[in-house]
C-alpha cells in the first residue's frame, strides 16, 4: 500500500510567474523524503503539485510529469479528486473540521463519494486510524466531542488519522510541526517513523534537525533571488546531504551559514 513518485521536468506556475523550475526527482516507495530550503524557495509549492492541490489556487498550473507508479497525475482525463484519494496531505496548521466530532473527522474522507460504511466497520476504522496516529488512548473516551477541543499536537495527529483513514498510497506533510511545541513535535516525528512502514511519506520542513531525524532522503531547494524561480539543488541520502553535500549552497544551508 504505497507507491513511488517520479517527477520529470516539472515547472510550476502561478499565472505567468514561474515559481519552481525544472524539478526531476525520484521518491522511493515506503521511504521518508524531506524537502528543506529557505522560505519562498518553492518547496511547499512543489509539494502541493504532488497531489494536484496546487491548482486549487486561481491561475496556478504546472508543466511536466508527475508519475505515481508510472501513472501521470497530470495526464489527460485524470480527475484530481482521484489523485487526492491516493495522495493524502497534512497541512502546516492543524485543520480538523470544527463542526465535526473526533469520530466524524476521522471518517470524513471515507464517507466521501457517497460511500456507505456500516457502523461496525466505521468503529473499527476509527480505532485503527487513531491507533495509527498514536491518538487512540488520548481520545477513545471522547470520540463524540469536537475535534477543535483537542490540543494543537493532538489536532495534528487527528489530521494524520483522517488522512490515513482513506488508505492513501502517499502522505504529504507540509511543515506539520511548525505550529507545535517540542513534545508534540516529537510525537509526530515518532509517528512519521512508523508511517513509513506502510506509506510513502514526503515532508516539508524548516527544521533541519527534524529532516535529519526523520528522513531517509533529503532534497534541498533554493532560490537565486526574489522573483526568480525556485530550483531543486541537490537530492540524496539524508546522511550525505548533511555530512558531505556535493553542492556548495547545500553545505552553506545545512551548516547554518545562510537561510
Amino acid at each position: 500500500m504505497s507507491k513511488r513518485i517520479d517527477v520529470k521536468d516539472l515547472n510550476v506556475y502561478y499565472g505567468n510567474f514561474l515559481a519552481v523550475e525544472g524539478v526531476n526527482i525520484n521518491i522511493e516507495a515506503k521511504s521518508v523524503t524531506a524537502f528543506i530550503g529557505p522560505s519562498g524557495c518553492g518547496k511547499s509549492t512543489f509539494l502541493r503539485t504532488l497531489n494536484r492541490m496546487h491548482e486549487v489556487l486561481p491561475g496556478a498550473r504546472v508543466e511536466g510529469e508527475v508519475l505515481l507508479d508510472g501513472d501521470n497525475l497530470y495526464g489527460p482525463g485524470v480527475d484530481p479528486v482521484t489523485v487526492r484519494t491516493q495522495v493524502g496531505m497534512v497541512f502546516q496548521r492543524p485543520n480538523p473540521f470544527p463542526t465535526m466530532s473526533i469520530r466524524d473527522n476521522v471518517l470524513a474522507g471515507v464517507k466521501l463519494n457517497n460511500k456507505k460504511i456500516s457502523k461496525g466497520a466505521a468503529d473499527a476504522l476509527v480505532e485503527r486510524s487513531l491507533r495509527g496516529a498514536n491518538l487512540w488512548n488520548e481520545v477513545k473516551d471522547r470520540l463524540e466531542k469536537p475535534g477543535s477541543g483537542l490540543s494543537g499536537g493532538q489536532q495534528q495527529r487527528l489530521c494524520i488519522a483522517r488522512a490515513i483513514a482513506v488508505e492513501p498510497q502517499v502522505i504529504l506533510m507540509d511543515e506539520p510541526c511548525s505550529a507545535l511545541d517540542p513534545i508534540s513535535t516529537l510525537a509526530i516525528e515518532d509517528l512519521i517513523n512508523e508511517l513509513k512502514d506502510q506509506y510513502t511519506v514526503v515532508i516539508v520542513t524548516h527544521n533541519m534537525q527534524q529532516a535529519a531525524r526523520v528522513s531517509d532522503k533529503t532534497a534541498f531547494f533554493n532560490i537565486a533571488g526574489t522573483g526568480k524561480p525556485g530550483k531543486l539543488i541537490e537530492f540524496g541520502d539524508t546522511h550525505t546531504i548533511f555530512s558531505n553535500p556535493s553542492v556548495k549552497a547545500t553545505e552553506d544551508y545545512v551548516s547554518g551559514r545562510f537561510g
Binding site: R93, N95, P98, G109, N113, G149, C159
Partner: protein, 310 residues
C-alpha cells in the same frame, strides 16, 4: 517617602481613551433609550385597545379575534417569501463565492446588491401591475389540478392579487439580503478547511458540504432571520399587491392580510380606539420579530461547541 514612578502617565493618550469610551457608552445608552422609548410608546398606546370591551374593537369580537387572522396572514406571507428566497439565495451566493469565474462573480454581486437598492414601493407596483396579471393563469391551473390541496383550493383569483403573489414579491425583496450576507460568510470560510476537504478527495460540492456550509451555518441563519424581519415588516409592497380580506387557507384566492399592511392602509383614516387597536397590532408585530430573533440566537448558540470558536 518615595513616590511610585509608574503612577505618572501620558496625558494625551489617556484623554483620547476617555473621550472614546465616553462616546461609545453614550451611543450604547442611546440605543437602549430609543428601544425602551418605542416599546413604552407601543405599550401605553396599545393598552386602551387591549383592555377595551370586545364590542368596541373593529369586528366586535375583541382584540384577539381581530389580531390573530392578520398575525397568521403575516406569517404566511413571510414563510412563503423565505421558502422561495432561501434556497435561491444560498445557491446564488455559493455560485458567486465558489463556482463563478471572478469577473462574472463580481458583476453578479453588483446586480444582487442593486436589487436591494430598489424601493419597496417599486416592488409593490411591479407586483400589482405586472406579476399578478402574469401569474393568474398559473393560479387557475393550480386550482384545477391541485385544488384538492387546501392551500391551492379554487376558485383562483382572476386578478392574481393573492397572498401567494405577495409572498413571491417579498421573496424577491429578501433575496438580496440573504444572498449578500451568505456570500460574505461563504467567502470567509477558512482556506484551511476547504483545502482539508479537497485533500481528502472531496469534489467541489462535497467540499462545500463538508467545510463551507457547516462553517456558514450560523451566518445563514442570521441572514435568513434578517430576511424574515424584512418580510414580516414589509408594508408597501404587500399593501399594493394583496387584495386583502378574511383569513383563508387557500393561497390563490384573494383574502388574508398582514399586520404591517393593515396598519398602513387603515391608519390615515383611523381615530379614537381604532388608533389604539392599530398600535396594539404594531406591538404584536414587534413581539413576533423579537421572538424570531431570539429563536435564531438560540439556534446559533445551541451549536456553539462545534462552531470552531473554541
Amino acid at each position: 517617602m518615595t513616590t511610585n514612578s509608574l503612577t505618572t502617565s501620558q496625558g494625551a493618550g489617556r484623554a483620547g481613551d476617555k473621550v472614546f469610551s465616553g462616546a461609545a457608552l453614550a451611543a450604547g445608552c442611546l440605543i437602549l433609550a430609543v428601544l425602551f422609548g418605542v416599546a413604552l410608546f407601543l405599550v401605553v398606546q396599545a393598552l386602551p385597545a387591549l383592555v377595551a370591551q370586545p364590542e368596541q374593537i373593529q369586528g366586535g369580537q375583541g382584540f384577539f379575534a381581530y389580531i390573530w387572522p392578520i398575525v397568521i396572514g403575516t406569517l404566511i406571507a413571510a414563510i412563503i417569501a423565505l421558502v422561495i428566497a432561501t434556497p435561491i439565495s444560498i445557491g446564488v451566493a455559493l455560485f458567486i463565492s465558489h463556482f463563478a469565474p471572478r469577473q462574472l462573480a463580481s458583476g453578479l454581486g453588483y446586480v444582487i446588491d442593486l436589487l436591494a437598492a430598489i424601493p419597496s414601493v417599486v416592488y409593490g407596483a411591479w407586483g400589482a401591475a405586472f406579476l399578478a396579471k402574469e401569474i393568474s393563469p398559473a393560479y387557475g391551473w393550480l386550482a384545477n389540478n391541485l385544488g384538492w390541496i387546501p392551500i391551492f383550493q379554487g376558485p383562483a383569483s382572476a386578478t392574481g392579487k393573492t397572498i401567494l403573489t405577495a409572498g413571491i414579491v417579498l421573496s424577491v425583496m429578501v433575496l438580496p439580503i440573504i444572498t449578500s450576507l451568505s456570500r460574505e460568510i461563504f467567502l470567509q470560510t477558512p482556506k484551511l478547511h476547504e483545502e482539508a476537504a479537497l485533500a481528502l478527495g472531496a469534489t467541489r460540492w462535497e467540499m462545500i458540504k463538508m467545510a463551507v456550509l457547516p462553517f456558514a451555518r450560523p451566518g445563514i441563519i442570521s441572514a435568513v432571520m434578517l430576511g424574515l424581519g424584512r418580510a414580516l415588516g414589509e408594508t408597501m409592497a404587500v399593501a399594493l399587491v394583496l387584495s386583502s380580506g378574511v383569513l383563508t387557507a387557500s393561497l390563490i384566492q384573494s383574502g388574508n392580510q398582514t399586520i404591517a399592511a393593515e396598519i398602513a392602509l387603515n391608519f390615515p383614516e383611523a381615530g379614537g380606539l381604532k388608533v389604539n387597536t392599530l398600535i396594539a397590532a404594531g406591538l404584536v408585530l414587534f413581539v413576533i420579530t423579537l421572538a424570531v430573533n431570539m429563536i435564531a440566537r438560540w439556534i446559533i448558540t445551541r451549536h456553539k461547541e462545534f462552531s470552531g470558536a473554541n
